[in-house]
């Protein structure tokens, strides 16, 4: 195995494109190194993107935030501007693993690992986040919900990688939240995850919403019917009931040792309602 550690984006693109064998991008390594050590991955090369300074930064852009693919969860939590605008995305990223894992894990890695239960992905989807993908033909921007294609599968070509994640500007009176259900209080994989992002008008009417579910389908899903249940309402009991029903309907989970189909389907609705309430409070509703 070769270890490659480019210091510029151009070099990284070039190395990945030129590599004849199986070359894996290394961000925090909290998924990749586990797989490497267990023999589930045997790449010919590893391309470490952490020495590329441009990918280590959180920068303001058009009123929103661009998060480099090598920024760790701990660094996100320490960024005041990001926490103020997107508390739901930051809380979702903060749920990944332990303090030790937080010191390394990235949301781009969480996305590219393409687990249906990835915690930060529903929050990014609800936020309307966009992944900037770099490759030999330049960069392209893809909505986060379109990146995962199935468990462990993404829309990335072999010679492409995610350079950054963009979180758009936040209108006044907006809020987001992410909740997951796990059997323990920390260090566990989501049985169900749900993120809600919404914006209110001055009179408290919901003018825009996005709702996303994790761990109830082969990929994290955007649930437009759930968003529609909130839009145009005051996010009152009736709207929350409709939201919960839409999420329960959209959930199409498998049964495993962590939860039955019935349980997961029910919890999807319960979490949606609770997450919407938190997002509402954060929006000042």
């Amino acid at each position: 195995m070769r270890y490659l550690a480019p210091t510029t984006l151009e070099d990284a693109v070039h190395m990945l494109a030129e590599d004849p064998g199986d070359c894996r991008v290394l961000a925090g390594g909290t998924d990749l190194l586990v797989r490497l050590r267990s023999g589930h991955a045997e790449p010919d090369s590893i391309l470490d993107i952490k020495r590329i300074n441009a990918l280590r930064e959180i920068t303001g852009e058009e009123g929103g935030w661009r998060i480099g693919a090598a920024v760790s969860g701990a660094e996100m939590r320490e960024h005041e501007g990001l926490c103020a605008d997107w508390p739901g995305v930051v809380e979702a990223a903060s749920l990944i693993g332990s303090t030790q894992i937080q010191g390394r894990c990235t949301i781009a890695g969480n996305l590219c690992n393409a687990s249906p239960a990835a915690d930060s992905v529903p929050a990014m989807v609800a936020a309307g986040a966009v992944a900037r993908i770099a490759g030999p033909n330049g960069t392209r921007d893809v909505a986060v919900e379109d990146v995962p294609q199935g468990p462990g599968k993404t829309c990335l070509e072999k010679d492409e990688f995610v350079a950054s994640i963009f979180l758009p500007a936040r209108p006044e009176k907006s809020g987001d939240a992410y909740l997951r259900f796990i059997p323990r209080t920390e260090m566990d994989i989501a049985v169900v995850g749900c993120a809600v992002s919404l914006t209110l008008s001055d009179d408290g009417t919901c003018t825009a919403a996005r709702v996303s579910l994790g761990a109830v389908a082969p990929t994290v899903i955007l649930v437009p019917e759930a968003a529609a249940a909130l839009e145009g309402t005051k996010v009152d009991d009736g709207a929350l009931e409709a939201l919960a029903n839409a999420c329960t309907k959209a959930a199409n989970p498998i049964a495993d040792k962590r939860g039955t189909v019935e349980f997961r389907t029910h919890v999807a609705g319960v979490l949606a309602r609770r997450a919407a309430n938190i997002a509402l409070t954060r929006a000042g509703g």
């Binding site: 550690a5 909290t30 586990v34 050590r37 590893i46 332990s98 303090t99 390394r104 260090m187």
Partner: protein, 159 residues
């Protein structure tokens, strides 16, 4: 496989080593450098027995490649006591009997030191969450938490 030459600092001292591209920092520390204080409990990021700091950030050294340490500063359990003088956390772990078999102890001490550097006055809840990635099969955690909170109080008084 061609070996990679790495220059780094461990507990303040300049260190150089050669490692394989797929060798973890934990294996380098233990097998190449003879620093066996960091333990391997799981090798999958779950137990925290291998905790070290890289550029001040608490991480699992079993999930870091030796090659990634190039140009960084690493802190391990071996850097905790100053000669014969134990760190207050180490002293309190003994006083509170916060260890039994001791396998988890180096990792927990490194993690607790990192907590107190970030937050000199943590609540019990903050302490428990910070240390959630450090598993202990013996103590039941309570004595560990008491020892950390007691050390924190002493260290605040001393500073």
């Amino acid at each position: 496989m061609s070996k990679i030459h790495v220059t780094t600092k461990i507990n303040g001292d300049p260190v150089e080593y050669l490692c394989e591209p797929d060798e973890t920092l934990l294996d380098v520390l233990r097998d190449k450098l003879g620093m066996t204080g960091s333990k391997e409990g799981c090798g999958t990021g779950d137990c925290g027995a291998c905790s070290v700091t890289v550029n001040g950030r608490l991480v699992c050294s079993c999930l870091v490649l030796g090659a990634e340490a190039e140009g960084t500063e690493i802190g391990t359990i071996e850097g905790m006591a100053q000669g014969e003088a134990l760190h207050p956390l180490q002293q309190k772990f003994i006083e509170h009997a916060a260890l039994q078999c001791g396998i988890c102890t180096p990792g927990i001490l490194v993690a607790a030191k990192s907590l107190l550097e970030n937050n000199p006055d943590p609540t019990e809840e903050e302490t428990r969450y910070w240390l959630a990635g450090n598993l202990c099969r013996c103590t039941g955690y309570d004595k560990i938490i008491r020892a950390v909170l007691d050390a924190a109080a002493d260290m605040r008084e001393a500073s």
